[in-house]
Amino acid sequence: GPKVLQIPSHQIIDMGQMVTLNCDPVSNHLYFYWYKQILGQQMEFLVNFYNGKVMEKSKLFKDQFSVERPDGSYFTLKIQPTALEDSAVYFCASSLGGEQYFGPGTRLTVL
C-alpha cells in the first residue's frame, strides 16, 4: 500500500541546537500532519498543513516549531532551539482528505 517515509529514524541532538525532521509523504496526497508521542504516552496532534499553509496547530506546537513543504518535496518539522521536553517520537502522516497514512516515526533525543 501507500508508504510514508521518515528520515532519519533516530536523531540525537544537544539542547539548544536546531533539528529538522523530514517526511516523504504519499505522492498525490494533499494534507500533511505531525504527531508527537512521548515515551509511555499517547500520540498527540501537533499540526496539519494544506496548500502551503498551517491549517490548525495544537498547544504542543510551540513557537520554536515550524513546518514547510518547499516545492512539493519533503514535509519538514523544524525545531529551533530544541529543549529537553522535545524528546519524543514524531510521526508524520499524509492523506487525500480521508484515511491518514503514517510513517514509522523519528525518535528524537535531546540531551
Binding site: 500520540m43 494544506y50 491518514q100
Partner: protein, 115 residues
C-alpha cells in the same frame, strides 16, 4: 476536549483464544472511531473505521461496533493468531474543518499472542 481511553496497556493471550481490546471515548460531537495497528518497527496502519450507519466494520478477522450509548468501540476477534501481536491504538477524528480531520489517540494496547 475529546479523549480516548484504552483500559489495558498490555494484553497477553494464547493463540486461538478470543481477543477483546477496550476503547471508550468522550467527544462533544459524533466522531468517527478508528483502530490502528502498529507492528514492531513499522508505521501505524489503519485497521478499522466506524461507519456512519450501523454497519460493523471488519478487516483481517477483526471487527468493532460503535455503541454511542456507551461511547465505546471495542475491538474483537474470535481467534487470536501469532501474527496479531502488535500495538493497537484506538483513535477518534475531530472535525477540524473541511476534510482535514486530526486524530485523537488512546495510549495504545500491546497485544502479545503466545503459542
Amino acid at each position: 476536549g475529546d479523549s480516548v481511553t484504552q483500559t489495558e496497556g498490555l494484553v497477553t493471550l494464547t493463540e486461538g483464544l478470543p481477543v477483546m481490546l477496550n476503547c471508550t471515548y468522550q467527544s462533544t460531537y459524533s466522531p468517527f472511531l478508528f483502530w490502528y495497528v502498529q507492528h514492531l518497527n513499522e508505521a501505524p496502519k489503519l485497521l478499522l473505521k466506524s461507519f456512519t450507519d450501523n454497519k460493523r466494520p471488519e478487516h483481517q478477522g477483526f471487527h468493532a461496533t460503535l455503541h454511542k450509548s456507551s461511547s465505546s468501540f471495542h475491538l474483537q476477534k474470535s481467534s487470536a493468531q501469532l501474527s496479531d501481536s502488535a500495538l493497537y491504538y484506538c483513535a477518534l477524528s475531530e472535525r477540524s474543518g473541511g476534510s482535514n480531520y486530526k486524530l485523537t489517540f488512546g495510549k495504545g494496547t500491546l497485544l502479545t499472542v503466545t503459542p
